[in-house]
């Protein structure tokens, strides 16, 4: 194992809980996954699967009341972010780990010019003069290909289109040369042609800056286009972890296979669209045993009693949380 490079970010048994009434319920249940240097790891799942809460837990952006990290470690450059003081955490947040969100309009300050917002991040984390920060902001706007960047530096977010706002967000995230970029559905609110541009740009910048990217999405098409590896989440757990090629060619977990069959495709005729019966369990109603069992056509008695572990599927690097899956993948 010593020959492997150290992960850029290492989640170990991360457990995040929310309070409903007097009870705490886990939204992220013992998630363990490593983000390798220069890697794009996609986290895919439906609403309520815990994918966004995982990212917010990494940066400790959860509300203080009603949410808590109940266990586990988030290892980054030799430190455990879970136990770090808030003061130390704020030197990492937005600096060596940056995040971009789904809604660029609600994450930009409408009362500040775009240039000032980007410069602010640089001044806080890197220091230097305002002039230098503004010059760097201009360079970043040009780098994310905002046309006539110089004049747009002094404009406000409402003067930008949705795609350009997301590019401003990306410029701001890049301002401090982060080692890790957490991207939470960054293209979901964008039109497809703009989505393709932003995905292309993220890929180029990831390479240019030598970043690792945790890319959260519900869209399997986007996963196939950009990911190196994929973690599929269901009800707060990773149920399958594999390289993107293996996941699409040979899905091992019945949920992954069902998701792929439920997605209508634009590139070929799809007569056999198969819905998944039922719906994702609520936070307070996750079944004991396998969380997916109530919707699973392959379940047997053990599934409702024993909680399955995430184990090797037999193929190297391909982990799956299902003991009864058919041999050779689910098709």
């Amino acid at each position: 194992m010593t020959s492997f490079p150290r992960p850029a970010l290492d989640l170990r048994n991360l457990r995040t809980e929310f309070r409903i009434g007097d009870h705490w319920y886990p939204a992220v249940r013992n998630v363990s996954v490593s983000l390798m240097p220069n890697e794009t790891l996609a986290v895919v799942g439906e609403s309520g699967s815990g994918k966004s809460v995982t990212a917010l837990s990494i940066l400790r952006l959860l509300p203080h009341a009603g949410a808590r990290i109940q266990g586990g470690e988030v290892l980054f450059e030799g430190q455990d972010l879970v136990t770090l003081s808030e003061r130390d955490m704020s030197t990492i947040r937005g600096n060596s780990i940056a995040m971009i969100f789904q809604e660029p309009m609600t994450s930009l300050n409408p009362t500040m010019t775009v240039g000032d917002q980007i410069a602010e991040a640089i001044l806080i984390h890197r220091g230097g003069s305002r002039m230098e920060a503004k010059a760097e902001a201009l360079r970043l706007l040009a780098e994310v290909k905002i046309p006539s960047a110089k004049s747009r530096l002094d404009e406000y977010p409402h003067q930008f289109s949705g795609g350009m706002r997301q590019r401003v967000m990306i410029a701001m995230a890049l301002a401090c040369h982060p080692r890790v970029l957490l991207a939470d559905e960054p293209t979901t609110a964008l039109d497809v042609t703009i989505q393709a541009q932003v995905l292309t740009q993220l890929e180029e910048l990831k390479q240019a800056y030598g970043m690792s990217m945790l890319f959260i999405t519900h869209n399997l098409g986007v996963v196939a286009q950009i990911a190196d590896r994929v973690a599929v989440m269901y009800a707060g757990e990773i149920v399958e972890l594999a390289t993107v090629d293996a996941l699409f060619a040979k899905p091992m977990h019945p949920y992954t296979a069902a998701l792929l069959r439920a997605m209508p495709r634009a590139d070929r005729a799809n007569e056999s669209l198969e819905p998944i019966p039922g719906s994702v369990p609520g936070l307070s109603a996750v079944p004991t045993g396998c969380a997916y069992a109530p919707r699973c056509p392959f379940k047997d008695r053990s599934c409702t009693e024993l909680h399955p572990e995430l184990v090797s599927s037999g193929d190297p690097g391909h982990l799956v949380r299902c003991p009864v899956r058919p041999v050779g993948g689910v098709h």
């Binding site: 194992m1 492997f4 490079p5 490593s34 390798m36 220069n38 890697e39 439906e46 609403s47 290909k145 289109s161 949705g162 795609g163 350009m164 039109d191 497809v192 042609t193 703009i194 989505q195 393709a196 541009q197 995905l199 292309t200 740009q201 180029e204 519900h218 869209n219 399997l220 098409g221 986007v222 996963v223 196939a224 286009q225 990911a227 190196d228 590896r229 390289t243 993107v244 090629d245 699409f248 069902a258 998701l259 792929l260 439920a262 997605m263 209508p264 495709r265 634009a266 590139d267 005729a269 799809n270 669209l273 198969e274 819905p275 998944i276 019966p277 719906s279 994702v280 190297p316 690097g317």
Partner: protein, 352 residues
């Protein structure tokens, strides 16, 4: 674009709608829909695709006169929808219903599902209370929800269930045409497939016609026989859905299709360079609206608006220099190899 009128057909000709905004610096006009024509034969499903601001939702609302169009004609089963008034308009409205995108904001939170479903029946039909109750219950069962749920409020349902309620509300009046405006866009994949199944079943059982407005090419390919592609208020391509997606003629259709992320890592697309933003409908470029972003554009494109014309095989497109060949899905071989090499090197790093 045949002009024959089958019974039950829905025919739109030369529909236009301009919104005028009065602001500080004088009135600003946005031509949201510009000379749009299409026909939905009885029982057929027509897709309307395009990006935000292309006018597809305005078309959906204008044909139901939820927004009054400026010009053009709308004929449903031979009846002039635009000229209809009073009782005749109400009778038409019963036959044409709409399902909205957001199942959260399109249901009244202070009314039980029963109240929501029964109101249109009271407005449109003279039925006894017993008949009204039975019809509401039948609609509920038809969309796969339990009868008992009629007494509950919208907040007690999930997004998918609410969309079923939205569909039930459209169905209680036994319409012949359903306009679905991004009806499955807000739903998770597994639930989206359930709702698509439901709509398909209804289409088969009831012989419903659909105008299916969506930005999702996968959903449209699955649900629609024909598709119209809109850009800046105009239809720029029309034809059988599979044919249009597999062999796009208009360069914009091709861009839209090539931007669609295919759920197959072996079909990764070559990276798309950034070529401009979608122009605003308030300030459209002269000539073809797509020419500033188009690699095939020549002098004529920025001068004269191309009209939607037939190019044989039931296909129509509005482009002077349509795509001719090499429009297949997927990247070319050399790009595929390069991607594979890069990913293999990463896979060997991460597997243990």
């Amino acid at each position: 674009m045949t002009t024959s009128l089958g019974s039950g057909d829905f025919v739109v000709r030369n529909l236009s709608k301009t919104f005028v905004r009065h602001g500080g610096s004088g009135a600003r006009c946005v031509r949201a829909v510009d000379d749009v024509s299409f026909r939905i034969p009885k029982g057929a499903s027509l897709g309307l695709v395009g990006e935000s601001g292309c006018g597809k939702s305005t078309v959906a609302r204008a044909i139901l006169r939820l927004i009054e169009p400026d010009s053009g004609s709308i004929l449903f089963d031979g009846i002039d929808v635009r000229a209809a008034k009073g009782a005749a308009l109400r009778a038409l409205r019963r036959r044409m219903q709409i399902v909205f995108q957001d199942p959260y904001s399109s249901l009244n939170p202070r009314r039980t599902i029963r109240q929501t479903l029964e109101e249109p029946l009271r407005v449109h039909l003279r039925l006894s209370s017993k008949n009204i109750r039975e019809k509401a219950e039948a609609a509920m069962v038809e969309v796969g929800l339990p009868r008992e749920a009629l007494g509950r409020y919208p907040h007690e349902f999930s997004g998918g269930q609410r969309q079923r309620i939205g569909i039930a509300r459209a169905l209680v009046l036994d319409p012949e045409l359903v306009v679905a405006d991004e009806a499955v866009s807000a739903l998770d994949v597994s639930v989206q497939a359930q709702i698509l199944r439901l709509l398909e079943g209804l289409r088969e059982r009831r012989g419903l016609s659909f105008l299916f407005v969506s930005h999702d090419l996968g959903v449209v390919r699955h649900f629609c026989d024909r598709v119209c592609v809109m850009y800046l208020g105009r239809i720029i391509e029309e034809g059988p859905t599979a044919d249009v997606l597999d062999r796009p003629l208009h360069p914009y259709t091709r861009l839209l299709r090539d931007s669609y992320p295919v759920p197959d890592p072996r079909a990764r697309r070559p990276l798309i360079p950034i070529v401009g933003e979608v122009p605003s409908a308030a300030n459209p470029p002269p000539g073809c609206g797509f020419h500033p972003r188009c690699a095939r554009a020549e002098g004529l494109c920025s001068v004269e608006k191309p009209q939607l014309e037939t190019s044989g095989n039931d296909r129509f497109q509005a482009c002077y220099f349509p795509e001719t060949s090499d429009v297949a899905w997927g990247p070319c071989a050399s790009e595929r190899d390069e991607l594979k090499r890069r990913r293999n090197s990463l896979a060997s790093l991460t597997s243990s």
